[in-house]
């Protein structure tokens, strides 16, 4: 955790959720800005601790450990809201957005670049599907042993929104939360100027393929470059896996979405990646501003403000 300055902003950089993050604020009262940034960072870490599947004491680990048992695991109000949201996303996306795809990780080994065969996938696919989750609004039960919940698809974005709320509550009028590329702006950068956000080039590390202007609201990007390997016959396998086939998506290199909240932007970007060719009409129907990069590297954008200068 370290403070530094970027232009007129005070910045706090920290690691959480297995990534590098930063929160920025501009405020005449530096002590207040520092306190707000630390509180925002604490909020991100609280959510990480609560929902990480790597921590045995997390809510998620507790639910997953009880998979196949007859009892529902009772959850608190915040977790209930996230489960309700996940259920709604499953419904709105026609089953594409699914927080039960965790078992696919047992078939896919991205570190060893191992592509599973149909038999491998056939073993885990029956464990996937929100429809098999018994959720009554208070308690949740995974009906088959081996099933898993994973909030990885919304946790970081939710944390960005919550960190933003912490900054806003502290009276920060010019702030930015950046959790490894999922961003939420707390007001403009300064005196009405929007933040200029570079969009990661999907194929060139350390390069951006576009810049967008964000005065308020959130930007989230879903891309095939975060975790992937290339098969011996040259196919790129990324970590965004289709819940029904268990295979990686291939239509888009990346999709960035702007929405008033980060969790909505992130969910739309993920659903769009999974939709393939239908992504752009879906995003337009949802009233979302977006920037999409197709497999040939062409940009498709809608309602996105590019920098004027």
């Amino acid at each position: 955790m370290q403070f530094d300055r970027v232009d007129r902003h005070l910045r706090l950089r920290f690691e959480a959720m297995a990534s590098r993050n930063e929160v920025l604020a501009t405020c005449a009262d530096e002590a207040r800005a520092r306190a707000a940034l630390v509180a925002a960072c604490d909020e991100v870490r609280r959510i990480e601790a609560k929902y990480s599947r790597y921590r045995p004491d997390s809510v998620v680990s507790r639910i997953n450990a009880a998979a196949g048992s007859a009892e529902r695991v009772e959850v608190d109000a915040e977790t209930a809201s996230l489960l309700d949201f996940s259920a709604r996303l499953f419904e709105l996306s026609g089953g594409l957005f699914d927080i039960t795809t965790g078992p696919l990780r047992r078939a896919w080994d991205f570190r060893r670049a191992r592509e599973p065969d149909d038999a491998d996938l056939a073993r885990v696919l029956p464990l996937i599907g929100w429809a098999q989750v018994d959720w009554d609004g208070h308690g949740v039960r995974l009906t088959r042993p081996g099933m898993e919940l994973d909030f990885g698809g919304i946790g970081k974005e939710y944390a960005a929104d919550r960190a933003h709320a912490v900054l806003a509550q502290a009276g920060i009028a010019h702030g930015l939360v950046n959790l490894a590329g999922d961003l939420r702006a707390t007001g403009p950068s300064e005196a009405g100027r929007p933040w200029t956000i570079g969009i990661q080039h999907p194929r060139i590390t350390d390069a951006t393929c576009a810049s967008v202007q964000l005065a308020r609201g959130a930007l989230a990007t879903s891309g095939d470059y975060e975790r992937y390997f290339v098969t011996p016959d040259g196919r790129r396998c990324c970590h965004i896996l289709h819940p029904r086939s268990g295979r990686p998506v291939t239509h888009w290199q990346s999709i960035s979405v702007i929405q008033p909240s980060c969790v909505a932007a992130g969910a739309l970007a993920t659903i769009a990646m999974l939709l393939g060719a239908d992504a752009l009409s879906f995003l337009r129907d949802q009233g979302a501003a977006f920037l999409a990069v197709d497999q040939s590297g062409c940009l498709h954008r809608h309602d996105i403000d590019l920098p004027t200068s």
């Binding site: 709105l92 089953g95 969790v263 909505a264 659903i271």
Partner: protein, 376 residues
């Protein structure tokens, strides 16, 4: 295509149900930069065949933050007024020429808390025949998510009325002013505000420059203001609509409707065209320009010097339209220019329903204002 639900914003609507995710309105926070603004106003009004009043008013406004919780703001203005004093009916005769200077100043201290704030202000205005002093206070508070803000205010004015026509006139008018309002963010793009105001006063209301003009010694005024601002994000524009109702114990009732379109062109230029329509019912004691057969002009029929009577055009029934344009130019992070022009036309026949006060000449006015502001 997968069976996705294509209702606009359905994913966002679901996201907003998460705790702490609702799009938060900003609490009014202490300004981080000070501002100095110099403005010049040029006002003229006229009726056919007569240039009435011309006002030139340079003013200076200063806003200074003090720490992160306080600000002080104040302004001074010096008007030079020349032309005819307000007249009864529209007769050209009897309009005394005047040349006047008005000096006014006000100052406000504001405190900004996390979800509440208050302000205390004082204002003073001096002319050789009119002096006004006002003190006021406001308090506002918001819900935790700042989506709803309430405010209340209380003020007290003490006015002293004199007359260059009558050096012995030293009349007083005391007024209590109360306001209450609620502002609600209905969505990330919609802000609705409803404010109620009441002024309860007693003292001298008659116009010393008009004869005959005799008004009741008490006046209570009530206003209700409803505003709706809608942010049209994709167009980079904000639409503003407002409706104001006014009623007082003189019997005046007025409804004003206004609409403005705030259009941004990039970060530097903003154009705001606006229109406004007012329709007003006359005061109970307003008399039409029909004169007593025995006393003749300017005395109305049945004039006895006892009962309230006024021939002031502002107390008549009329309709008025105005249109304006404001231009804001941001030169850089520190410098800001603005200019606005507004034209006002008032006619008896423009009253809603058309039954306005008869026999009055059209009344026209225009404002031109330029300002330059610097933040520090």
């Amino acid at each position: 295509m997968a069976a996705t639900e294509a209702r606009i914003g359905s994913v966002l609507a679901a996201a907003l149900l998460l705790p702490g995710i609702a799009i938060q309105a900003h609490a009014e926070s202490a300004p981080e930069q000070g501002t100095v603004e110099v403005q010049a106003l040029d006002y003229r009004d006229w009726q056919p065949g007569l240039q009435r009043i011309r006002v030139k008013a340079p003013s200076v406004y200063v806003l200074a933050p003090i720490g992160s919780r306080w600000s002080v703001e104040g302004s001074v203005v010096s008007d030079s007024v020349s032309g005819a004093s307000p007249r009864h009916h529209t007769a050209v005769s009897g309009a005394s020429r005047l040349s006047e200077r008005r000096n006014a100043a006000d100052a406000t201290v504001k405190h900004y808390g996390a979800h509440e704030g208050w302000s205390l202000g004082a204002a003073s205005s001096n002319e050789h025949d009119y002096r006004s002093r006002t003190v006021s206070g406001t308090y506002r508070w918001s819900t935790d998510d700042n989506n709803r803000t309430w405010d209340v205010g209380l003020g007290r004015s003490d006015d002293m009325i004199g007359s260059s026509n009558d050096p012995t006139l030293h009349a007083r008018r005391l007024t209590w002013q109360a306001t209450a309002g609620i502002t609600q963010a209905l969505s990330a793009a919609d802000l609705v505000q409803w404010s109620l105001g009441a002024n309860i006063g007693h003292g001298e209301y008659s116009d010393p420059y008009k004869f005959p003009d005799l008004r009741p010694g008490h006046r209570s005024q009530f206003t209700s203001l409803l505003r709706w601002n809608h942010d049209l994000g994709p167009l980079d524009a904000v639409a503003r609509l407002g409706w104001r109702y006014y009623g007082d114990t003189f019997g005046v009732r007025a409804n004003t409707f206004d609409a403005a379109w705030v259009q941004s062109f990039g970060d530097r230029l903003q154009l705001t065209p606006s229109v406004r329509y007012t329709t007003q019912r006359a005061a109970r004691f307003y008399v039409d320009p029909v004169y007593s057969t025995s006393l003749g002009e300017p005395f109305p029929p049945g004039y006895d010097g006892q009962h309230a009577v006024s021939e002031d055009q502002r107390m008549s029934a009329f309709g008025a339209l105005s249109a304006g344009l404001r231009v804001d130019v941001k030169l850089d992070a520190r410098w800001h220019l603005d200019a606005s022009f507004e034209r006002y036309e008032q006619r008896g026949s423009w009253r809603l329903g058309g039954d306005g006060s008869p026999g009055l000449a059209p009344f026209s006015a225009r404002w031109f204002q330029v300002g330059v502001a610097c933040s520090f």
